[in-house]
Symmetry: C2
Subunit: 202 residues, 2 copies
């Protein structure tokens, strides 16, 4: 393959930057407290090196985000229930949403940084498209629901980083309470489908 393998120092620096940024975003309060210069300093690297490796700020954020999301992506694509493909749709939808909610709770600053200063709307991000079509496909298998594309957008919007941050950080809603509320909400929505189901069935 014509893949131009990167040099050893380049790879090492890339990891250093990733690690430094990870730590910095994890620690800080607001995402824009962390500047590119900060990351460069923390990684003991020149600013130019960061931009060479990631293109721009959004590129760095995306790389970090994808890296952290990787385990969940795997679990969804080829893992055991309740996240994996073998799960029945009625159970998988809440599981997917619970997973994203927990992810955002565990990576608040990072998710916030990506969604808010992420070079325009979060909806252009490639990973959003993936999650959306995944969720949409699962919803599609549940009859009696409204437009599954739109429903998927709304359900994902229910786990948006700034909403999560507002509820968890500002209003001090406990983690388990939020998970329960999201689960309840989802259940209520899915119930409207199974209602017509049971009407038809008997």
């Amino acid at each position: 393959m014509p893949e131009p393998r990167s040099r050893k120092d380049a790879a090492r620096n890339r990891e250093a930057v990733l690690a430094a940024a990870d730590a910095l975003f994890g620690r800080c309060e607001s995402p824009d407290d962390v500047t590119m210069a900060d990351v460069a300093a923390a990684a003991q690297v020149g600013k130019g090196t960061i931009f060479r490796a990631f293109g721009d700020r959004a590129g760095l954020l995306r790389a970090l985000y994808e890296a952290r999301l990787e385990p969940i992506r795997k679990a969804v694509e080829s893992g055991p229930p309740p996240l994996g493909p073998a799960t029945p749709p009625q159970d998988r939808v809440p599981a997917l949403l619970d997973a994203t909610l927990c992810f955002k709770l565990d990576n608040r600053s990072l998710a916030l940084a990506l969604e808010e200063s992420g070079s325009g709307s979060p909806y252009r991000a490639e990973h959003y498209e993936r999650w959306h079509s995944m969720l949409r496909a699962v919803l599609e298998q549940i009859p009696g629901l409204p437009d599954s594309g739109f429903a998927a957008h709304v359900l994902l919007a229910a786990t948006r980083a700034d909403l999560v941050e507002h509820l968890a950080g500002e209003k001090h809603v406990p983690r388990e309470t939020m998970r329960a509320q999201l689960a309840d909400f989802t259940a209520a929505l899915l119930a409207s489908g199974s209602r017509r189901e049971s009407d038809a069935g008997g």
Copy 2:
């Protein structure tokens, strides 16, 4: 009253800035195409004047937003059905959501500007708090629903400016389609409540 009435020129300039900003945000593609200097130039006013009158960028955005929102606020607080207080909850919820959706569709760049660069999360804005508690109160009157506070957050998230922008601007979803999808979604959610109602009732 100890209200320190503002000078005539100050008031005139304030209006000029408001008008200029309104026009500029209405015309432009992305909200950050409009800088403070642009607004100042368009209003034929010094930059200092803007900051004196509105504090900072977010202040200007907020003032504009509130001004445009004013008619809707009135209609909701003391207008005729389907927005006014005399409307039965089951009809008022979809009406409120449809109104916000239409508002965001009609004021895309402005809403986008306020939500994304509005000095942190849109959830800290005072008008969000108002809308949320309003919607929550109406939802509360419909029995059988999940936590109305959370449901209100989610339903409002369904009309967020960047989602609306994505669907209308990027995916070219027609206005009426979006309205219908939102209405369907809302109906599905409310149905889960009236279902337990009818179970109990007969």
